[in-house]
């Protein structure tokens, strides 16, 4: 997009805008952390009670509450919590009794791997489907793809995942239905284990992404410059690749960043079904065992990722707008 080096005046105009977006995202992230902290501290009964069980004496509970800092007022605890979080020390898991940062460091790479492969495949597929639909606007391929993606958006992740298991693990016996991945697993094995989770997640993400890509490309195809090029006799394939795509790339990247946020909701279900040792299944376990420090950290990571994706979408939209760039 920024083929020519931006002139100073463009940079001077763009930088404050982008800095503003980043500051606004950080403010939102701070407010989100307040919401998460407040919601998860509203527990009826508290962690000390839960840890010690029913037989604990009031004195023991009071001592533990003091040790955990639960006897301090809410705002003080929030400041401590946020400060520790910023220093990379989100506390100790109630259930596993080990530092939350260790547990997460163990799981996070797995989730990132799953997300990266899914994103790569989804982007290629979504571009193909989106451009094919946009070129055939109103045609048969377009309406078929429209119905297909519209339906796929509304299908619950666990239906896709169970059908995939049924087809590839139960009937065809091609792929494992459980994705156990350890650091010792080789590359070929890891890819085989990841195949079904990636397939399920891709279905979730690609539908949304393809719809938004189609909208972005179709919007460009309706512009007068496309008609001009056609009247000049430029071949249609050339128009799409060299005239339309450079203009559509900004909105398309914007659409992709937005739809990648669907990965997170999808990962909760998909990681759980396939027993994949990632961050999302960790968070589900934290809810089941009411492990608040772990839950808070997982929620913060997901919300921060979500905000980062939105921020990227925003910044790309700013950079891609020629009126702001010139």
């Amino acid at each position: 997009m920024t083929a020519a080096p931006p002139t100073r005046s463009a940079a001077a105009r763009l930088l404050p805008m982008i800095a503003g977006r980043i500051a606004s995202s950080l403010l939102t992230l701070f407010l989100v952390s307040v919401v998460i902290f407040v919601a998860s501290s509203l527990l009826p009964g508290d962690a000390a009670q839960e840890l010690l069980g029913q037989s604990a004496t009031p004195a023991q509970i009071a001592a533990l509450r003091h040790e955990m800092g639960l006897d301090q007022p809410g705002p003080v605890r929030f400041v401590h919590w946020l400060g520790a979080l910023l220093h990379g020390d989100p506390g100790v898991s109630f259930v596993a009794n080990m530092p939350v940062s260790d547990i997460i460091a163990n799981r996070l790479p797995n989730s990132l791997l799953l997300a990266a492969i899914t994103a790569l495949i989804s982007i290629v597929l979504a571009l193909t489907i989106g451009i094919a639909s946009a070129i055939n606007r109103g045609g048969r391929i377009d309406s078929a793809l429209n119905i297909a993606t519209l339906s796929l958006v509304a299908i619950p992740e666990f239906l896709i995942a169970t059908l995939a298991v049924l087809a590839f693990s139960v009937k065809l016996l091609w792929l494992p239905s459980i994705s156990l991945v350890t650091p010792e697993t080789g590359w070929a094995e890891t890819l085989r284990a990841l195949a079904l989770p990636v397939l399920s997640l891709t279905c979730v993400v690609v539908a949304q992404m393809a719809r938004m890509t189609r909208a972005a490309v179709a919007d460009q195809l309706d512009r007068p410059y496309v008609e001009m090029a056609r009247l000049k006799g430029v071949p249609f394939g050339r128009i799409v690749l060299f005239h339309v795509m450079p203009n559509a790339i900004g909105p398309v990247i914007n659409a992709m960043a937005l739809s990648l946020s669907y990965l997170m909701g999808g990962a909760l279900v998909v990681e759980t079904i396939f027993n994949y040792p990632g961050l999302a299944s960790l968070m589900v376990n934290a809810v089941t065992s009411r492990d608040m420090p772990l839950l808070q950290s997982c929620a913060m990571i997901f919300c921060a990722t979500y905000l980062a994706l939105m921020l990227v979408a925003d910044i790309v939209a700013i950079l891609a707008n020629p009126r702001l760039r010139a």
Partner: protein, 274 residues
């Protein structure tokens, strides 16, 4: 009115009519399903577990030998009504706040919009998990949590619509007449945004169905003895290797409801081809 409605349906494209049929089908089942169920919902009636479809049990039996058809009929009631209730509550809450925001303007609007933006910038399922962990998951709580999560999304859309309307001449005239804020919201602004709001209610309904059945599937939504369609998928997950109808049917049921609703909303969209 009913004539116009019939016209609308006749002019709808095929996918829209299929969607309408699916939505009506599930609405009727949710209302009348328990009366149609051939067996009590908790009764153990089959010696075999995960049996396939047969003459006595149309959809086979589940992991405890209960009738799948009866359980799906009951489960659809929880899925449909919880989602309908939550979607209506979310739109009621979101639109009321949006009207308040748009008519008041100034600081009230600023603060409300910022708060809603914050809530909107958490992925809905992640937010739902935090709320379920904090409050629990009784049926009432699930209804309220789902409604609460989708208020900000509706607020954003309703506020955008309302702000445009508030700037129009007829609202200025009403203000000059000395009408109160409630009158302006209820009689001047709201009637002019009802169509997009209805479409948004439909979308919220689809979101809530997916959210709640996802939660139930993870074991964090509707708890026994109640079971919605998502819980049915979860409890029968061990029947997957046998391709038992007990797991396939409820999962397909959810998909047909949400896909149907989506197709219907898409066909009703103004500007869509008739």
């Amino acid at each position: 009115m009913s004539g116009a409605l019939a016209m609308r349906v006749r002019n709808m494209r095929l996918s829209g009519r299929i969607g309408l049929a699916l939505v009506l089908f599930w609405l009727v089942l949710a209302v009348g399903g328990p009366a149609l169920a051939p067996h009590p919902v908790g009764a153990f009636i089959d010696q075999e577990v995960f049996s396939g479809p047969g003459r006595t049990f149309w959809l086979g039996s589940d992991y405890l030998g209960r009738d799948v058809l009866s359980r799906v009929l009951w489960g659809s009631r929880y899925t449909v009504f919880l989602a309908l209730g939550a979607a209506l509550l979310a739109v009621l809450g979101g639109t009321s706040l949006a009207l308040f925001s748009a008519i008041r303007g100034g600081w009230t609007d600023e603060i409300l919009a910022r708060a809603m933006d914050t809530l909107n910038s958490m992925p809905s399922k992640i937010f739902a998990l935090v709320l379920v962990a904090a409050f629990g998951s009784s049926l009432t709580l699930l209804l309220l949590i789902a409604a609460f999560i989708y208020i900000p999304g509706n607020y954003r859309i309703a506020r955008a619509l309302a702000i445009n309307l508030v700037a129009m001449d007829f609202v200025q005239v009403a203000r000059a007449r000395g009408e109160g804020a409630f009158h302006i919201a209820r009689y001047e602004v709201l009637p002019n945004m009802i169509h997009p709001l209805l479409a948004d209610t439909g979308l919220r309904f689809v979101f809530v169905v997916l959210l709640l059945s996802g939660l139930s599937f993870l074991g964090l939504g509707v708890q026994p003895p109640y079971a919605d369609l998502g819980s049915l998928v979860r409890e029968n997950i061990s029947g997957l290797p046998m391709a038992a109808p007990a797991i396939i049917v409820p999962a397909l049921a959810i998909a047909s409801l949400t896909v149907g609703a989506n197709l219907l909303i898409d066909a009703l969209k103004p500007g869509g081809k008739a």
